[in-house]
């Protein structure tokens, strides 16, 4: 999922079942099919989990830790998504189109992840209608969130977007450095400093 942190962000970790149940109720047989495909993996802070220029084979459910997605641009990196416990980390075009994508995913903390093979997951989408609808629901939730953020970018000031962000995700300030937050808000770090100074 692209940007949640809401519900269970403060939990120390989430189980695979916790994560699967967030999007859509699945019968146990479908959950078991996922469990059979999943492998537990761990990587340290700073690890690049997925890269833009590769067709990535896996997506990752985040059990514990914080990550960011960023696009490389002529003007530097643009962070456009944070993922925490319960979210799904993936490079969009690899997942959706089997092509290279526009973003890298970097771990901002040591992470425990559930790794799953995209091709095998898609085979399940073709075989199991519950999982096909689970996959639909997952994307739908991301789409609503992304569209809401896009609209906010079109008419809210940077200060409003900052306030909204930390109100919805108070722990973000404790877990993510301000440079990444500024980028996520679409402003320079200097601008974010000014906004924060004005709030004191």
């Amino acid at each position: 999922m692209r940007f949640t942190l809401g519900d269970k962000a403060h939990e120390p970790f989430m189980t695979l079942d916790d994560i699967l149940d967030r999007f859509y109720p699945l019968p146990d047989a479908s959950k078991q099919a996922i469990r059979d495909l999943v492998k537990d993996v761990r990587y340290p802070k700073g690890h690049i989990l997925l890269t833009a220029d590769k067709v990535e084979r896996y997506i990752y459910f985040i059990s514990k830790g914080m990550v960011r997605a960023y696009a490389d641009t002529p003007n530097g990196q643009v962070t456009f998504w944070f993922g925490a416990e319960g979210d799904v980390a993936l490079t969009m075009n690899s997942y959706i189109a089997g092509q290279t994508s526009y973003e890298d995913i970097e771990l901002l903390e040591d992470c425990n992840l559930y790794r799953i093979d995209i091709k095998k997951l898609k085979q399940l989408y073709q075989q199991d209608i519950h999982l096909a609808n689970w996959g639909r629901k997952f994307t739908e939730r991301e789409l609503v969130r992304t569209e809401e953020r896009l609209i906010a970018m079109q008419f809210k000031t940077a200060e409003e977007r900052y306030t909204d962000l930390i109100n919805k995700n108070p722990d973000l300030l404790l877990r993510v450095q301000l440079g990444h937050i500024a980028s996520y808000l679409g402003i320079s770090q200097v601008s974010l400093s000014r906004i924060r100074a004005a709030r004191r």
Copy 2:
């Protein structure tokens, strides 16, 4: 679909089959199930097809015409999506969550539409795995487009976003007034006029 206009935008109109085939190959039985639910409707330019404050019962495939989605804000309307032939017009939260949403859909031209009942479509998602995957694919395509636009908002100048927009959609300038385009780009109409003046 949220913002395409690409492939067949210049076509005078698209059939239901054209539209269904854009996202995902469907067996004929599945297409027939959709055909059985669909009703042809027409509305004139200016008609408000869907509204934010209602739980809408229908979504519409656009056979002919141009529409926009906009959110009402304290500072006026924010247009954040244009739909043309082949696109799907819907209020997101009605479609996704069965709740009121954040946008109205207004017709910018006289339109021919295929109307379909959301509840019945969702029943099909539960019964027909091909349609469930069609629905997944539809949302996935929207998500990639929306995410790409969000990233562009974060690091491209208004002028670059304007150039990108009209390069991808040359006919947009002929079919949509500049005030809506300015809003879509996240700038004032005055700013857009300045950008256009500088390009001459």
